[in-house]
């Protein structure tokens, strides 16, 4: 029940396309859902986060869509650029995880020029 399942493992998108990464969780007590971006050899950087009181949050080209009933959330990267090529991690936390972040396994995104 503590798992966060992330898919796909890897994704190749053409420049200008839309990148979509999905995550699913089982624990209904989770109430915080961040996404992190990690470049090779660097620490992950917080990209965007959402709470269950909204179904969508947008920051620039990055959008989180949240479906509480399906227990799923996704990251959409609009107008994907080669500089977006990185590994993306979703995560979740809540009372049942003692508020520790539970991370997905990561998605390696490659945006081709």
């Amino acid at each position: 029940q503590q798992q966060v399942k992330q898919s796909p493992q890897s994704l190749i998108v053409q420049k200008g396309g839309i990148s979509i990464i999905n995550c699913a969780y089982e624990n209904t007590a989770f109430d915080y859902f961040p996404w992190y971006q990690q470049f090779p050899g660097k620490g992950p950087a917080l990209l965007i986060a959402i709470r269950p009181d909204v179904s969508e949050k947008k920051e620039g080209r990055f959008t989180i869509s949240f479906n509480k009933s399906a227990k799923q959330f996704s990251l959409h990267i609009m107008d994907s650029q080669p500089g977006d090529s990185a590994t993306y991690f979703c995560a979740a936390s809540g009372m049942d995880s003692s508020y520790k972040l539970i991370f997905g396994s990561g998605t390696r995104l490659l945006v081709r020029p």
Binding site: P34, Y36, K42, G43, P44, F89, L101, G104
Partner: protein, 112 residues
């Protein structure tokens, strides 16, 4: 603004040798601190977290230990390294447990 530092950036150590990795945070007081390990091409494994000086919670039984001697200092140690300890070690901090975590630059450890 807050800054998190880790050192060393890279480390190559023989099996059986001791380890000490250091993490410090600037610009905030009483942060929650975390140690993660990331194996090559894999996700993040939480090793330890601390909500205050001297308070350490261990997530995974292993060859490692953590200490928090000062409010903004978090140390990861081992008395005898194993080959399986190789990986990318990340320190992170947050204002509250379960909310935004901010990661340091990481330490790449290779045990030979």
């Amino acid at each position: 603004s807050q800054t998190i530092h880790q050192w060393p950036a890279t480390l190559v150590q023989p099996v059986g040798s001791p380890l000490s990795l250091e993490c410090t945070v600037e610009g905030t007081s009483n942060p929650n601190l975390y140690w993660y390990r990331q194996a090559a091409g894999r996700g993040l494994q939480l090793l330890f977290y601390s909500v205050g000086i001297g308070q350490i919670s261990s997530e995974v039984p292993q060859n490692l230990s953590a200490s928090r001697p000062q409010d903004r200092q978090f140390i990861l140690s081992s008395k005898k390294l194993l080959l399986s300890d190789s990986g990318f070690y990340l320190c992170a901090w947050s204002v509250r447990v379960g909310e935004e975590q901010y990661f340091g630059p990481g330490t790449r450890l290779t045990v030979t």
